[in-house]
Amino acid sequence: MRCEDVAPLIAALVDCPEVPNITVQRHVETCLKCQAELARYQRMLRGLRDLRSRYVEPAPDLLDETLAALEHSRDHNPVRSILSSRRLAYAGAIGGTAVAAVLVARNRRRALSLAG
């Protein structure tokens, strides 16, 4: 087996260890060039794992904006909206009752004064 044939299969040695390619493995064991290629591939994977601890600094206002978005979502929370509309309905009902009571009282007074 030639190195040119092995090169595209080296990644599979690492990516798919559950399906070992014995021919490729044997070639790599005896070929310095392919061993170097395998080492580079493994180094790349180690580097990717190390990226995990490399944080990207967010813009200074991201935290405040995120917390504000959460606060805003609370204001527009569906449950709260339902509660608010219920409160509005109660207030409307109470207000309507009060107006009706005033009107009734006024009519009674007028009726009494006419009768008197």
Partner: protein, 186 residues
């Protein structure tokens, strides 16, 4: 207060506890969002959306995985939706989009096992991958999520996730080492 206690309190509806969780995790979440979207502006949107989803869904968090892992999954799902929306009106398929961006990592030399140069090259090469391939490399190789969870969040099969990962790694390898060889040849 420990993170588990904060999670418990947030599950009871304690908003301040959840806000404290946001404060403790948002840099990590932003970093993941940056790596998934490839740019900081989109990442900021993804972070906000991810925390809104997390707040709405925290009662369903059962603690089987770590809170951070649960948050990664939400962020991955949010970023996938965001990237999809962003490119929906473009004619190029997501697989072929190339949008190299420059990220600015915080320096943490004591934790870097490999050379800073390699990590810089890797970060740029990952950012330059097409979004669908990038997501696989970031979630599997950088954050170590299992194929099943990645496939679940991205809405693809496990087999498709493995194929994409293989393609992504091959592209990265080609970018990293063939460019390097060309540079040495010059």
């Amino acid at each position: 207060m420990e993170q588990a206690e904060l999670v418990g309190a947030a599950q009871e509806g304690d908003r301040q506890a959840f806000e404290e969780l946001v404060r403790r995790t948002y840099v990590d979440t932003f970093t993941l969002a940056c790596r998934l979207t490839g740019n900081q502006e989109d990442a900021g949107d993804v972070v906000q959306d991810a925390y809104l989803r997390a707040w709405r869904g925290i009662a369903r968090f059962r603690g089987e995985a770590q809170f951070s892992t649960w948050l990664y999954r939400i962020t991955a799902n949010t970023a996938a939706t965001h990237v999809h929306k962003r490119y929906r009106n473009r004619s190029e398929p997501l697989d072929d989009l190339n949008e190299p961006v420059e990220l600015h990592p915080c320096a943490q030399p004591e934790r870097a096992a490999e050379s800073a140069e390699l990590l810089d090259q890797l970060a740029s090469a990952v950012a330059a991958l097409p979004p669908k391939l990038r997501a696989l490399v970031v979630l599997k190789d950088v954050y170590g999520l299992p194929h099943e969870e990645i496939a679940d969040e991205l809405g693809i099969t496990v087999a498709a996730a493995k194929v994409r990962l293989h393609r992504a790694r091959k592209r990265l390898r080609d970018v990293l080492y063939e460019q390097g060889e060309e540079a040495h040849a010059v």
